[in-house]
């Protein structure tokens, strides 16, 4: 049970001290991502700011980016990604997989 203090520490919302990474806006509308192609510089951490303009929640998910996050209807959410090697990283909305698809291109 020595882990508990450590755990409490991890749970503290301490802000990252590093310089603010670039913000990349992304919109969900009618269960589609706009833009569906997001270009970011390789080797850099960026902050995806996803604005869900639908009334229903969506889950941003990507196996390639190793990310998953539920974004409630009408809400904005931040997802940090990278630094990434150059390449294509598909993502999708788990709750509307048929239409909500996109890709991050690191170059």
């Amino acid at each position: 049970m020595r882990r508990l203090p450590l755990l409490a520490l991890l749970c503290l919302p301490f802000a990252a001290a590093a310089a603010d990474p670039a913000e990349i806006p992304l919109t969900i509308r009618n269960h589609r991502f706009e833009p569906a192609e997001v270009r970011i510089p390789a080797g850099q951490k960026v902050r995806l700011v996803v604005h869900n303009q639908d009334g229903t929640p969506e889950e941003f998910e990507s196996h390639e980016l190793n990310r998953e996050k539920v974004i409630p209807g009408g809400a904005k959410a931040s997802i940090f990604i990278g630094p990434l090697q150059a390449g294509k990283y598909p993502f999708f909305g788990e709750f509307n997989e048929a239409t909500a698809r996109g890709v991050v291109i690191a170059e």
Binding site: T56, P57, H63, E94, F95
Partner: protein
């Protein structure tokens, strides 16, 4: 309806497997079923509350509330699994030996069972809150509530079925090796959860990924394939882990294994790590 069934199956699978393994690992403890059900009930309640508060949770901690919540839930679950395994390492032998120690085990078992309740509740809470949100979104899309509920029930039944198969399969393991097998499964589950916890802390920019990815086996065994999914659920398989995830994974394996070793060894050192 099929969509609801598939997603609910996917989300409930993880919780169902965990409950199956825990139910098997705790099979000698009296009153097990009552504590398991209490854990499931508490988890469902918590999931509904989290789903209802989703918007506010997401806004907490500078937009990173969800990552913090997930990381905390996973961290608590990992501690409970660790506790379970270490406690079992000390008591498994007496239990196998039989009735001799039963009176004492009843007294000790109660404490262990409350840990199991918390653990089950955490697993159901995490998987359940996502599921509730998803079903809500389907229903508000115009799919009829009946269809959504029918699909959800189907998926839940399938998930529970797999969990029960896990449980039934484990019960057929000979008693002599039973505790070893379930302990290994619980250890891998805990390590996988610790890895996921690291992933959420990285996603929330609270921890650095260090090397990312440390390796890439997605071409060999993708996370989408049935085998990849099973390995992910059972052992935390991740085709592209970051170095930080691997550290959390290996650190948890090492910490729990050490705890089990010290608990099993005769009480030579009075202060276990």
């Amino acid at each position: 309806m099929l969509g609801a069934a598939i997603i609910v199956f996917r989300e409930s699978l993880e919780a169902a497997l965990l409950i199956g393994i825990i139910a098997a690992a705790a099979r000698t403890l009296p009153g097990r079923n009552r504590w398991l059900s209490a854990g499931v009930a508490a988890g469902v309640m918590g999931a509904l509350i989290v789903a209802a508060l989703a918007g506010r949770i997401a806004d907490m901690a500078d937009g990173m509330g969800q990552e913090m919540l997930n990381a905390c839930i996973l961290g608590l679950a990992v501690s409970m699994l660790a506790w379970h395994n270490i406690w079992m390492a000390r008591h498994a032998r007496e239990m196998v030996a039989g009735a001799r120690a039963i009176v004492r085990d009843v007294a000790d078992g109660r404490r262990e069972l409350s840990a199991i309740m918390v653990l089950v509740a955490m697993a159901v809470l995490r998987e359940g809150s996502e599921t509730a949100l998803f079903l809500y979104s389907l229903a508000s899309e115009g799919e009829s509530a009946g269809q959504v509920l029918a699909g959800g029930a189907l998926g839940l039944a399938a998930g529970a079925g797999v969990g029960f198969a896990m449980y039934a399969g484990l019960l057929r393991v000979p008693v002599r090796r039973f505790f070893g097998v379930t302990a290994a499964l619980v250890l891998l589950l805990a390590a996988g959860m610790a890895g996921q916890m690291a992933r959420f802390l990285i996603q929330g920019d609270i921890l650095p990924p260090l090397a990312n990815p440390l390796w890439d086996t997605s071409a060999w065994l993708s996370a989408n394939s049935p085998a990849g999914t099973l390995l992910h659920v059972l052992a935390g398989y991740d085709p592209r882990p970051s170095a930080m995830q691997a550290l959390f994974y290996l650190g948890t394996v090492a910490a729990i294994a050490l705890g089990m070793f010290l608990a099993r060894a005769p009480a030579r050192s009075a202060t276990p790590a």
